[in-house]
């Protein structure tokens, strides 16, 4: 290391930069035999993971081909599900609609609640409570979705029923989404339960990212006379944007793939019902869970096509999330 010239950069992490430090020196490391063995071993593990995971996608695609060939483009627009009927008539329209609506309901609730909870734990809760609350959130993330689902089925949905009935009676006339003939097994309720499951996992990730916001900048904001909210909007939220998007996307992934809540709560109906408070609906995951037992050759293939469609959607969402997260990372510093 040589002493810095007068133009030595102040913003860099490295205090000193010699004139030859423009590019890193080439390091040559000799590998021992044991090192080579270790590398090969670890690489084979990674390779196995890659192969296994790729295999799933490829296999789903191969399995789905017969059904896709039979149905053609109508696979995307047909609502009923009777792949083993004569003639076979099936499509994912109703399933996809239900999946998206319930996931959308879930995310509308999850994201604000998760951000609030993360901020609350990190910035507002008393220091002594912080660890406990963090553990509580992590614990919630560990509670199986099945338990949330049966809890929702037996406690939350009956509890909400009168409120929903009331809402339908009062606002059904002029709010287009709320007309309903019967409530209870609706996409809205399914979404609500899914939100209960998605909140902890989303919160857990968002909180962790927000906790890494540079403390000195937070304190700087406060020292300059900012309010706590000012500090949050100026430092923490910009820093954590990628984390918020990433955490939300993970929650969304969980919401889209959630099987049990939908299976237990929805009254099964393979049709598109735009009124979210009305009984009936189906999601891709619950459709697979319900139909797989009776599925014949083409039926199974059709289910795999539906599974593939769901997987493609979740994959696309993940991919988008990764793009967003990567793009906002440089601006976020650190």
């Amino acid at each position: 290391m040589q002493p810095t010239g007068p133009e030595g950069s102040v913003t860099s992490d490295m205090p000193e930069k010699g004139p030859h430090a423009q590019e890193p020196r080439k390091l040559e490391a000799r590998l021992t035999d044991a090192d080579r063995l270790y590398r090969a071993f670890v690489a084979s593990g990674a390779g196995a993971t890659l192969v296994l995971i790729t295999l799933i996608g490829v296999f789903l695609l191969i399995g789905a081909l017969p059904a896709l060939r039979t149905a053609g483009l109508s696979f995307l627009t047909t609502q009923p599900w009777a792949p083993d009927g004569q003639p076979p008539k099936f499509g994912v329209a109703a399933m996809m609609f239900g999946t998206f609506v319930s996931a959308a309901v879930a995310m509308v609730i999850t994201v604000p609640v998760a951000v609030c909870t993360s901020l609350f734990i990190n910035e507002y809760a008393p220091r002594s409570l912080r660890r406990g609350l963090t553990s509580l959130v992590d614990l919630m993330a560990a509670i199986p979705s099945l338990i949330f689902a049966i809890w929702g089925l037996f406690l939350l949905v009956p509890l909400l029923q009168p409120i929903e009935d009331w809402a339908v009676a009062q606002f059904g006339g002029w709010m287009p989404l709320m007309e309903a003939s019967a409530t209870g097994g609706s996409l809205f309720n399914a979404g609500l339960i899914i939100a209960c499951m998605a909140i902890p996992i989303t919160t857990s990730i968002i909180r962790e990212v927000l906790a890494q916001a540079p403390r000195h900048e937070c304190e700087g904001a406060l020292a300059l006379g900012g309010t706590r909210w000012g500090m949050i909007t100026a430092v923490i939220l910009p820093f954590g944007r990628s984390g918020i998007v990433g955490g939300s996307m993970l929650g969304l992934g969980r919401a889209l793939g959630e099987t049990l809540a939908a299976t237990l709560i929805l009254s099964i109906a393979f049709e598109i019902k735009p009124r979210i408070l009305e009984n009936g609906g189906i999601t891709v995951a619950s459709g697979i869970a319900i139909e797989f037992r009776d599925a014949q050759e083409l039926g199974l293939s059709a289910l795999m096509a539906a599974g593939l469609a769901l997987f493609l959607v979740t994959f696309a969402i993940n991919f988008l999330a990764a793009l967003v997260a990567n793009r906002s990372r440089p601006g976020a510093g650190a």
Binding site: V113, L155, I199, T227, A289
Partner: protein, 392 residues
């Protein structure tokens, strides 16, 4: 470990009463004054909040009983109360302390409310499952199976031994498959960063979103439908392992990345070969985080119902061999019982749910103990690295 006191201060309390703490390292003869702890709130703030609450309450009461022709529904009352409280509180604070402070206070209330919505379900879930479950849990729940239990038997008869055994075996097998593979992959991603790293990371990221039912469907249509292997515990483990793998990989990779590079470099500079630096320095340093990764993976799959629904078959008979014959497991037990139309069976499902919950809690506590033990040791060894541990 001197974590800076970052007790946040709204600007409103910045009156002249606080003096900077300059007593910390002063000379020994000077008498140390009692340490001042800055507070984030004052009693007047409390009074303002309380006053706003009361004002909103009575306004709501007035609205409901005198002005509107509505029946008083408790829920609606609470909602209106809250909706009125927000603007009142805002106005009161704005009057006394100005706009930014009012905004800050309003947001504090909103954030607190949001957090409440997140924490309320946990209390209700645990409480309700405990309440329903304890009604049917008897010792025989752990020693009997459902083999000789008919639909008309009492809810306290029969048990879930077969499901508990099944769950434990399947979870252990799934962990045994997924964890070594996941950790190896993570080591590859973070330590070797070879040519496979990009595709592996991409695929693993994509797989975190793999719906659990699709993993079940994969195993079902690959092995079960073509009659290559009949439904059994190991197939359930396989499906669960597929779900665990990306979780373990990604979490472990993140943990390994947090290990300070200086530690690796120090090990290498001391002449250690790569494999020793990874095995003896990197992995032990990240032990706490790795334990968390494993537990996160286990917790993700222990309650998964969808994949085992398709792969293990489900049975009412005890089958300790996960490699052949149908096997039950706890989520499946709960799922089949709760969908039954018999009231007694539904009751039994809550017993199963409670056990499942306890298993998850146990796993969780174990993870915490493992995690904190690891990080405690690390903390003792590297006292200056407080910042590195923030986050996990």
């Amino acid at each position: 470990m001197t974590a800076p006191e970052t007790k946040a201060l709204p600007s409103t309390s910045g009156t002249g009463e606080r003096r900077p703490d300059t007593d910390a390292g002063a000379g020994p003869p000077r008498k140390v004054p009692p340490r001042r702890r800055p507070r984030a709130w004052r009693w007047t703030d409390m009074m303002e909040t309380a006053g706003s609450l009361v004002a909103a309450f009575f306004l709501t009461w007035l609205l409901f009983t005198r002005l509107l022709p509505f029946r008083v529904m408790p829920v609606a009352f609470a909602v209106v109360w809250y909706a009125l409280f927000l603007p009142i509180h805002w106005l009161v604070t704005k009057d006394g302390q100005g706009r930014p402070a009012a905004k800050d206070r309003l947001v504090t209330v909103l954030i607190g409310t949001g957090a409440m919505f997140a924490f309320a379900p946990i209390v209700f879930v645990i409480g309700y499952v405990g309440y329903r479950g304890l009604k049917v849990l008897r010792p025989n729940f752990f020693t009997e199976t459902m083999q000789i239990v008919g639909p008309l038997s009492k809810a306290t008869e029969g048990g879930a031994l077969h499901s508990i055994i099944g769950t434990l075996e399947q979870l252990a097998l799934a962990t045994a498959i997924a964890v070594p593979l996941g950790v190896l992959t993570a080591v590859y991603l973070s330590e070797i960063q070879g040519p496979l790293a990009r595709p592996v990371r991409l695929v693993a990221d994509a797989m975190t979103a793999l719906p659990s039912i699709v993993a079940g469907l994969f195993v079902y249509s690959l092995l079960i439908k073509p009659h290559l292997w009949l439904q059994s515990g190991i197939l359930g483990s396989l499906a669960l392992a597929i779900l665990m793998l990306p979780t373990v990989t990604i979490t472990a990779e993140q943990v390994l990345r947090v290990v300070p590079g200086s530690l690796r470099e120090a090990a290498l500079a001391l002449g250690a070969p790569y494999w020793r630096s990874v095995l003896l320095v990197v992995l032990p340093t990240a032990r706490a985080g790795l334990a968390t990764a494993v537990i996160l993976g286990m917790a993700r799959v222990v309650g998964e119902t969808a994949p085992v629904l398709m792969t293990t078959g489900g049975t009412t008979v005890l089958n300790t061999n996960p490699f052949s014959g149908h096997q039950d497991n706890l989520p499946l037990f709960v799922f089949t019982q709760i969908r039954s139309s018999q009231e007694t069976q539904v009751e039994r499902a809550w017993g199963g749910a409670l056990i499942l919950l306890v298993v998850v809690l146990l796993l969780f506590v174990l993870a915490r103990i493992a995690g904190s033990a690891g990080s405690g040791r690390r903390r003792a060894r590297f006292p200056g690295r407080g910042g590195q541990r923030r986050g996990r």
